[in-house]
Point group: C2
Chain length 344, copies 2
């Protein structure tokens, strides 16, 4: 990406093993994230392109001498953050705070919207998918596996941090792929009622299939009033904010119940926001969330996907080859596509 709206496909040198803990992975499927749209709107123009992408399933092509958990030929999922899976934070399940970790989509680590990707700390940063041959696997299975690199487990993280549980009313703000994933995750965690705030009917229809009990198309004060109406004026025990823009946050503190929790997983496009007496403090509302430690949740969700218990891959409604990635960005930005898959 060379700047807002300017995505290009370029031939660059193949990545190679630079450290003995690296692996190189060949693309099976990648995708475009809602968070990739933030720089697509705002990245200053530059003469040097920034590598993009942080969601990948692929086949290991090469490994460094110290890599023990995967080997060439293995079919793997790459969580969106690099982590060693051994440091104090990883051991606590907070892999996105890994002492030796990092992010993709920058010159140092490269981007995963690519034929080949270098994966640092491969023993921590890759998870092997057992007994699946990507060359013959069902497309739906591949799609669901791909969501375990970020989108589904980001929705899951929102729900876990928000302490979704039986008996809880959950409001999900945002009908993008993360918001719909948060609906699916909330249902998995036993939420009694799931109110989905979104105004794209084709998207909220999938949310309803996944467990949303109510859909609120209104936004702002009207949307807040509708959710309060739906909850006897009390508000929602849990609010999962899957957008990252200030109006979504304002809706969140407007609908949260006294003593409730707002859990954010949309990357905030603001630094300061209301948290004083009139927004959070006065009603003892809590705020939580952050970049999902996908790695911590991956084995459990992988078992569910392989068993056919969940189908989070249904968020993908368009597929492009690598050469057409710029068109994929444009389609997601124009909301012509919910989430775009990238094929090899």
């Amino acid at each position: 990406m060379y700047g807002a709206g300017d995505v290009r496909v370029e031939q660059v040198p193949d990545p190679s093993i630079q450290l003995p803990t690296d692996a190189v992975v060949r693309l099976v499927r990648a995708c475009i994230c809602g968070s990739d749209l933030h720089p697509y709107h705002s990245l200053p123009a530059s003469g040097r392109g920034n590598p993009m992408g942080h969601e990948l399933i692929g086949v290991v092509e090469a490994v460094g001498s110290q890599v023990t958990s995967v080997r060439p030929g293995d079919f793997v999922i790459a969580p969106f953050a690099v982590s060693d899976n051994t440091c104090v934070f990883c051991r606590e399940g907070l892999h996105t705070a890994c002492l030796h970790g990092g992010w993709y989509g920058n010159p140092a680590n490269g981007g995963l919207q690519a034929e080949l990707s270098r994966i640092p700390l491969a023993d921590g940063s890759l998870v092997k998918v057992p007994d699946v041959d990507p060359a013959t696997a069902d497309e739906g299975l591949l799609a669901s596996l791909l969501t375990l690199s970020d989108v589904y487990l980001t929705g899951w993280h929102a729900a876990v941090q928000g302490r979704v549980a039986p008996g809880r009313t959950v409001t999900v703000i945002g009908d993008g792929a993360v918001g719909l994933s948060a609906v699916l995750a909330s249902r998995q965690l036993g939420a009694e009622r799931i109110i989905l705030m979104g105004r794209h009917r084709d998207r909220t229809d999938l949310g309803v299939e996944w467990g949303a009990t109510d859909v609120v198309a209104e936004r702002g004060p009207e949307g807040i009033a509708r959710v309060l109406d739906l909850t006897d004026g009390e508000g929602s025990h849990v609010v999962l904010e899957a957008v990252g823009l200030m109006p979504a946050y304002e809706q969140a503190h407007g609908v949260v119940r006294p003593g409730g929790v707002i859990s954010r997983v949309g990357v905030p496009q603001y630094e300061s926001a209301p948290i004083g007496f009139g927004s959070l403090f006065g009603k003892n509302a809590a705020l939580t969330g952050g970049p999902a430690p996908v790695r911590a949740y991956l084995e459990g969700a992988l078992a569910q996907v392989l068993a056919g218990e969940i189908d989070p891959g249904r968020v993908f409604d368009r597929s492009v080859g690598l050469d057409d990635v710029p068109a994929g960005y444009a389609a997601m930005d124009a909301r012509q596509a919910l989430k775009v898959m990238i094929t090899a």
Copy 2:
């Protein structure tokens, strides 16, 4: 209070039973709260005084016809918020969100820094102290009972909301009476390490007696660096923010550990504050807290005080009669007194 710095003692008509759920209580002890200093700094001058005070122990003088839990002559504690103790939020232990509740220190409900006070919803808003005669009780016992109207249980709420538990490192920001109470509460909840950020030696000495294992006198970036040093660079699992001013909040997000919790009980003197990627979101830090539902915690703490297990009344280091309340405000504002008790 007629404006910033302008506290006056006035004769006003005695309060009376206005609703059958009211009680009238005669002062045994009241006190001045750190939160009373906020209007003492900023209240616009007005020709009409605002009644002050929300912490009281006293003897019931009269009750309305529907009051059943207390009767004239009972020695009672008044939590700082009015609550019916029966609504959906009260039943969940969030009495400061009571559907029929409210606050003292305003023209409608009056203030409790007074000889006589009208207590709305007396069955919910008063707790009887059994087997203590205030006329002959030990001064230390009266002081500790008085802290159960607000200050100790506000510190307790901070610690409970922050999920203080064995094995946790807790940083308490503020060496005022609430901060010191939060130290005592954290020790009760089994915190392994308690770092107290404060620079008034006489106050932090009491904090150390109550369980603080480290005292950090530095503030701002130096204070943050010291806490990070003390925690192997990781930060504090729990941060209890007992001030309410922006520099305290900034210290809080600076010292909180990734995945940790900031719990605020200092009434925020700001509405917006940093919560984006660089402050809370990036490290999955949570923010919680609010006005303490003292009523929910009162019975448990009352038993501890009566059994002599805790001595939270030690926060009082000055006592004034009602006529000298203005001098009490001045002493607390000048930090000549930690917390001022008001005697009958």
